[in-house]
């Protein structure tokens, strides 16, 4: 198993349970083990009736329609449905390996029906999986980055960690995307009309270890690819977030309660287009397209206490001009932008829980909902930058989760997690789907790898996983 996150652990545990001897090679040291999975909070699960922490029902078809919508059709229905169905039955297995769930967190109640939250988050989940792996006898090597493997006739032969060679009968690649590789991000995003390299200004929300070295190697040796390197999950996060591993807490959730301006103090997108949970994932890209890849979310006192508290306090001022100064924006322009916006606000009753009728008229871009004049001091500003969650470029695969070369699947080399999520997520995102995909294909890959290592014979495990 190459990697140390959710997908790798699901594969390792499954393979070990199927009787294989398993070695897991994780690039990170122990303290940083687990990649982006250490930052997750939930997994999206289908269910036909209320199930422990999940309320009501979330049938397969609805899940599938949601995926279809967010990806704009850039998905593979067969693989998507495999992941969706597996999500209905995976939780008892996860619980057996120590994962614990809790009801939807306060402030995220809209997901009480669709998403099961890990008690303590992804790190607690991973700790449990590693403990289970240890109990079952999976061997784990930390600080073991694999940057090349030996492949002969589409068959995996060995993996290299520095100059140490690990021979195995089968292998699962679960080493994440390339989001922590700044060079690659720079290249993928190229140069914009102002001569900037937008990728240079991105922050990485997750691990620093997903450098994509193995992904690059695989593409080089001719593994089939899926997805576009510039596609990724990207949100607008506090510009003061650390370069890596800022995780969930750096997000800024007040966009729909105010206005967002770029560094020229101009608005550039409808802040009230739809409910924030449905829109938060487009703002990273929107900010990435602005000059300097920076923007400022501005609210007034009316919004305080109505959104998830941000991790760093906002810049605060009693006048808009003062706020502009603090944010290093042109005073006159910011004041003009806000006044123009304020004058365009129409309509009636502000209600953040519905698509209300507070909107603007006569300005572009308009704000379709929750538009209220920004006129009550103190004013607050949060400077944001694009924060990359994970990239979608990956290896093409199928129901067997095997790596393909020229359309032909390998019989002992498999791929799971972010490294293949692009098969299901061509673009867009629905909260919790990363874990749905990683868990399903991690377990399929693990079962297949065990079968390949033993020369077949684990049909039952395969059926269990795919059930």
């Amino acid at each position: 198993m190459i990697g140390g996150g959710n997908a790798a652990l699901c594969a390792a545990l499954t393979a070990r349970e199927a009787g294989a001897r398993v070695l897991l090679l994780e690039a990170a040291p122990r303290a940083w083990r687990g990649g982006n999975s250490a930052h997750v909070r939930n997994i999206r699960c289908m269910h036909d009736a209320p199930q422990d922490v999940l309320v009501e029902a979330y049938p397969e078809e609805e899940f599938w329609q949601d995926l279809l919508k967010v990806t704009g059709g850039l998905t593979d229905e067969t693989l998507a449905r495999i992941a969706i169905r597996a999500s209905a039955t995976c939780r008892p297995w996860l619980v057996r390996h120590g994962a614990r769930f809790q009801p939807s967190l306060t402030g995220a109640l809209h997901t009480a029906r669709t998403n099961a939250f890990f008690l303590g988050g992804g790190k607690a989940m991973l700790n449990a999986y590693y403990r289970s792996a240890q109990r079952l006898g999976v061997r784990v090597r930390y600080e073991a980055p694999v940057e090349r493997i030996d492949v002969q006739n589409r068959r995996f032969v060995a993996a290299w960690v520095r100059d140490e060679r690990f021979v195995a009968r089968a292998c699962v690649l679960a080493a994440g995307g390339f989001e922590s590789n700044r060079e690659w991000l720079r290249e993928a995003w190229g140069r914009n009309q102002w001569g900037e390299y937008p990728g240079d200004n991105f922050l990485i929300r997750g691990t620093r270890f997903n450098t994509g070295a193995l992904l690059a190697f695989m593409l080089d040796i001719g593994a089939d690819r899926i997805g576009d390197p510039s596609q990724s999950h990207m949100v607008a996060i506090d510009a003061r977030a650390p370069l890596y591993d800022g995780g969930i807490c750096t997000r800024i959730d007040c966009v729909s309660l105010g206005v967002v301006v770029n560094r020229d103090a101009e608005r550039f997108y409808d802040e009230g287009e739809d409910f924030w949970p449905k829109r938060y994932a487009i703002w990273g890209r929107l900010v990435a397209q602005q000059r300097g890849q920076i923007a400022h979310s501005i609210i007034d006192a009316k919004a305080v206490g109505r959104f998830m508290p941000p991790v760093f306090p906002g810049v605060r001022a009693d006048t808009l001009a003062g706020l502009a100064r603090e944010l290093h924006l042109d005073e006159a322009r910011l004041v003009a932008t806000v006044e123009q916006f304020n004058a365009a606000c129409r309509g009636g009753k502000f209600d953040h829980t519905v698509l209300d009728d507070c909107r603007t008229e006569g300005i572009a871009p308009s704000k379709s909902h929750w538009a209220r004049p920004i006129d009550t001091p103190p004013f607050f500003g949060y400077t944001v930058r694009p924060g990359v969650t994970f990239t979608y470029l990956g290896l093409k695969t199928g129901e067997d989760s095997a790596v393909r070369f020229g359309g032909v699947p390998s019989d002992n080399l498999f791929v799971a997690g972010e490294m293949m999520a692009g098969n299901v997520l061509g673009m867009g995102y629905a909260a919790g789907v990363g874990m749905t995909i990683g868990t399903a294909f991690g377990r399929i890959a693990g079962a297949r790898a065990a079968a390949a290592a033993k020369g077949g014979g684990t049909k039952k495990e395969l059926e269990d996983v795919a059930a």
Binding site: A31, W32, A38, H39, R41, R100, Q102, P103, L105, T106, G107, A108, L109, H110, F118, L119, G120, G121, G122, K123, A124, N127, A128, R131, P242, D245, G247, I248, C249, T250, R251, D253, S256, L257, F275, W276, P277, Y280, V304, G305, R306, F307, M308, P309, P310, V311, H352, T353
Partner: protein
């Protein structure tokens, strides 16, 4: 210094809770998180309340994506532990004695040494030997009147001082009117040590990220052992004054049964807690508090062990010596009670009541779904 200053410890706790408030992953572990999420800012009053609500189970440290080596260096249990020592010392009454917390290890050892020495002198003076078992049992060594005369005022003082301290704590941040349901819930949480269960009932973390009920069990043994010993003393007092039956009591008597079983539980519980403390992940607590915790557990254990030894061996050998040891340990325990780790239970109880009341009140922070 007033209890409500915002100083290093409170500022760090506020920083930590601010990050948790933006993250929320640990919501299900314990009451600290839901209580945190009802707030947007963390002033000193809130910080002191939340710190005493924390049972130091360690779950949120091992689960934290921002724990060291992350640059946020988030460590909730440590931040809370540091604030708690300040709560106890700064609300303590009389205030001047609150400072004893700072040098707790030293204070405990001095108190123990002094009280044991005093009792040694006393028993020597009355029986002339440390080893000979006098005919009249231990009242022949130290009279009942002398014991009551010495212990009642000290214990009374401890109870008064602790009560005043915890009342000051309570009044600094009153939660509003309480209800029977809230009191029931808080009582159950105290008696069951609900929050040493880790939210999933599998216990807390000790040396690593694995969960175990050991701490909860040993803590139960300690708590109920202490209560049984207390009950034994109370029953014996009743026997003495009301029933006209002075000690010593036989092995089948109620005070003996209560006392012996309490003593056994207390010895086992404190030994377990001591061992868990020694093997605990050093990140979990505040290193500078370790001696305070260990010292207190050791004193409690010594009190119980010397009591058991007295009850079992005292008729055969060295009664004066064992008696002096036991009385010295009990006296040191009582005398330092309001200024030692003992206080944690009382403040935690108050915090649990506050939480049970607060959670029944409407939440003032109404967040739009993010």
């Amino acid at each position: 210094m007033s209890p409500l200053d915002m100083q290093v410890e409170e500022t760090e706790a506020a920083r930590v809770l601010g990050i948790c408030n933006a993250c929320r992953y640990c919501e299900g572990f314990c009451a600290v998180f839901p209580a945190t999420f009802r707030r947007l800012e963390f002033g000193p009053k809130d910080v002191h309340f939340l710190a005493n609500l924390c049972h130091q189970c360690g779950a949120c440290l091992h689960a934290c994506q921002y724990a060291p080596p992350h640059e946020f260096s988030l460590n909730v249990p440590r931040a809370m532990a540091r604030v708690r020592v300040k709560t106890w010392s700064e609300f303590a009454w009389p205030p001047a004695l609150g400072r004893l917390y700072r040098r707790n290890g030293l204070v405990l050892s001095l108190a123990l040494a002094a009280t044991v020495a005093a009792f040694l002198a006393l028993v020597m003076a009355s029986s002339g030997s440390l080893w000979i078992v006098p005919d009249g049992g231990f009242y022949a060594v130290v009279s009942h009147e002398a014991m009551v005369g010495l212990f009642a005022p000290v214990f009374g003082w401890a109870v008064v001082a602790l009560t005043i301290g915890v009342m000051r704590f309570w009044r600094s941040n009153p939660p509003g009117p309480s209800s029977a349901a809230a009191m029931r819930e808080a009582t159950a949480d105290v008696l069951s040590l609900a929050y040493l269960g880790g939210g999933h009932g599998e216990g807390c973390n000790n040396s690593d990220d694995a969960f175990s009920l050991a701490r909860r069990r040993f803590h139960h043994a300690t708590f109920y052992g202490f209560m049984l010993c207390f009950a034994a003393t109370s029953v014996a007092t009743l026997y003495h004054y009301v029933g006209g039956m002075p000690a010593p009591y036989g092995f089948a008597s109620l005070p003996k049964i209560l006392g012996m079983s309490g003593g056994v539980l207390l010895v086992g519980g404190t030994a377990g807690l001591f061992w868990l403390n020694l093997t605990r992940d050093p990140l979990q607590g505040a290193p500078e508090r370790k001696s305070m915790d260990l010292g207190f557990v050791a004193l409690l254990g010594l009190t119980a062990a010397s009591g058991l030894a007295l009850a079992l061996l005292g008729r055969l050998i060295a009664l004066p010596l064992l008696l002096a040891l036991h009385l010295g340990a009990v006296m040191a325990l009582f005398a330092t009670m309001p200024y030692s780790k003992f206080a944690h239970g009382v403040y935690r109880g108050a915090a649990l009541v506050r939480w049970a009341v607060e959670k029944r009140r409407p939440n003032e922070v109404i967040l739009a779904d993010e």
